[in-house]
Symmetry: C2
Subunit: 347 residues, 2 copies
């Protein structure tokens, strides 16, 4: 890339550096702002005891999804998941969403009806209301912005910044499946380009497709944690990949981390497809992203209690800040974790 | 346009028909949703006595703004105005915003810094916090989505649906200036295309440019109305043009309206540029849009009280629903108002 004088390319700063620099002047000044920029969601005072959470996400056609293999109904469902997952990551239950669409002339009314059918299905499942939005014309491609709100008792809100030395690092469900689901869709789309009468080969990998096309936000875990009386010390949802999101927790909590390769929750279908396609499922788990699982930390003494919930794995622990963030392999060697932001997921 | 079987073009339904059809299944089910889709902002329960307002707007490069003559700092300012104006239109004061950007590789870090400088300036002026957002890559063009929150006592929230027979129709400030400002920018941009060393001719029309490039939301009016103890019966902000927005009030309030041509608040510069460019300033006022002024209705007996605020004009009154929405000319003839939605503002 040629350097133009007085012009800094965004790639030179990287996504996180850029956001840090741009949002630096925006320290909260309004009385009702409890937490501004820098977590999964902003925290706003609702009443004396209650906080309202607010979060916004944007999905761009050709970057975040490809309409050649993303059915509109699934896209609507996934947009809702992406929005409410940020609320869930604050240990709150989502309540309302708005959806703004910039739509090109390529999009038909039938497409939009299917898209909103998916939105409606996800809203019903998550007990969330669609309360507004905007529908405008775009020159090129579909851009979806989803804003979500949620509510929690103020003392139950969990930030990225609360992880403490020796805390357990926990992860819900399994990782890497959405990334491998995407790779499968891309492979079949390449294979069948221009071919008539053939069907894509998805047998045995339906779980991977479902995790990519129709991921569910883990509001069920928020309910389970509440039932067990557990309030994590820190939490984030896995949207950019375990490595990047764990590093966000470490950055906000001023700590280091060790996670263990053999404890990584990887679904069987991930290993199978990974072998076929020569993709390391651990890399998919670390850097794939879009898992919408929850990554959280807990004091050591909560080990038994959290185990009783099920579908939660303890994958490591919090260390001193100067020790950095590493993946420990079974032979004891340590691999430094690297964050990926602004990676174009589609190829 | 060729009709494709099983495919309905969005133009066939129109923006309002489309939104009606898509949002029909979304009746509020969550306890905290006071008002869902169908007004300037959604209304959410904050506490027993207080409501939180929530609104989202999207602006698309090439449709809503042209970067060849829209300075990034002004664009940031205007995005905030567009967002908070919807909160103001509910008779509430804005408190927080989030901004999501989909940015192409054309956008530099310097552009984003200027953009956020404009955001910061507008936030400071309106006493609003930027509390979050999302920054993602786009293939083509800049897409800005702004979400705004605000707060009001529940009984002070004003909806589009409350206008009553014989109510006065009031408008703040003047109309049509942003549309004429845009026309001026487009003219000078055409004239100077490929010309070196010449400057655009804006003298005498600075007000029009400012109204287009740096409009201010009328939160000052919300404070003035509160000081006078006035709660309008209905309110909307002028974003699509007076005709379209008045028809929204009539549609929601199940009423008709008469507005009077000679009462239309038109700035002197609008008439002057309109004459030069053969644009009827009344048409600009009715259909131009992006004025971000407030259109509201009041009981007849409030006439004196509202007059004391200043910068508010009474332009007509509410009539029976079956009488429709008309502009009355000085000779007594009536011109039916027509809504424009989904009109591409740029040419």
């Amino acid at each position: 890339m040629t350097k133009i004088k007085g012009r800094t390319e965004i790639a030179e700063l990287g996504q996180f550096g850029l956001i840090d620099e741009l949002t630096a002047p925006f320290t909260p000044k309004v009385k009702s702002t409890i937490k501004g920029v820098g977590d999964d969601a902003a925290v706003i005072e609702a009443s004396k005891s209650t906080a309202l959470l607010l979060s916004t996400d944007t999905m761009v056609e050709g970057i975040d999804f490809d309409l050649t293999y993303f059915p509109p109904k699934h896209l609507g469902y996934k947009a809702v998941t992406k929005g409410i997952s940020d609320i869930v990551a604050m240990n709150a239950l989502p309540e309302q969403i708005t959806i703004s669409l910039a739509i090109s002339s390529k999009i038909s009314v039938e497409f939009l009806k299917d898209f909103y059918a998916g939105v409606e299905f996800a809203c019903r499942e998550a007990k969330v209301d669609l309360v507004g939005g905007d529908t405008v014309a775009s020159i090129n491609g579909l851009v979806i912005t989803i804003t979500a709100t949620g509510r929690a008792k103020k003392e139950k809100v969990v930030y990225r910044s609360g992880a403490k030395l020796h805390d357990l690092i926990c992860i819900t469900g399994s990782l890497g499946a959405p990334f491998l689901g995407l790779k499968l869709l891309q492979r079949e789309s390449r294979v069948l380009e221009g071919v008539v009468g053939e069907k894509p080969q998805f047998e045995g990998f339906e779980y991977l497709l479902e995790r990519y096309l129709k991921p569910r936000a883990r509001y069920d875990i928020i309910e389970s944690l509440a039932e067990e009386g557990i309030v994590p010390t820190s939490m984030i949802d896995i949207s950019d990949g375990l490595a990047s999101d764990l590093m966000q927790i470490c950055r906000s909590s001023l700590c280091g981390a060790r996670i263990y390769l053999e404890r990584m929750p990887i679904a069987r279908q991930c290993s199978q497809l990974g072998e076929q396609m020569h993709i390391d499922p651990i890399t998919a788990a670390l850097n794939g992203g879009e898992d919408y699982e929850l990554l959280f930390t807990l004091p050591l003494e909560m080990r038994e209690k959290v185990a009783s919930i099920g579908c939660i794995d303890i994958i490591g622990h919090i260390t001193e800040p100067q020790t950095g963030c590493f993946l420990v392999t079974p032979d004891g060697s340590e691999i430094e974790l690297r964050a990926q932001g602004f990676v174009r997921k589609q190829e």
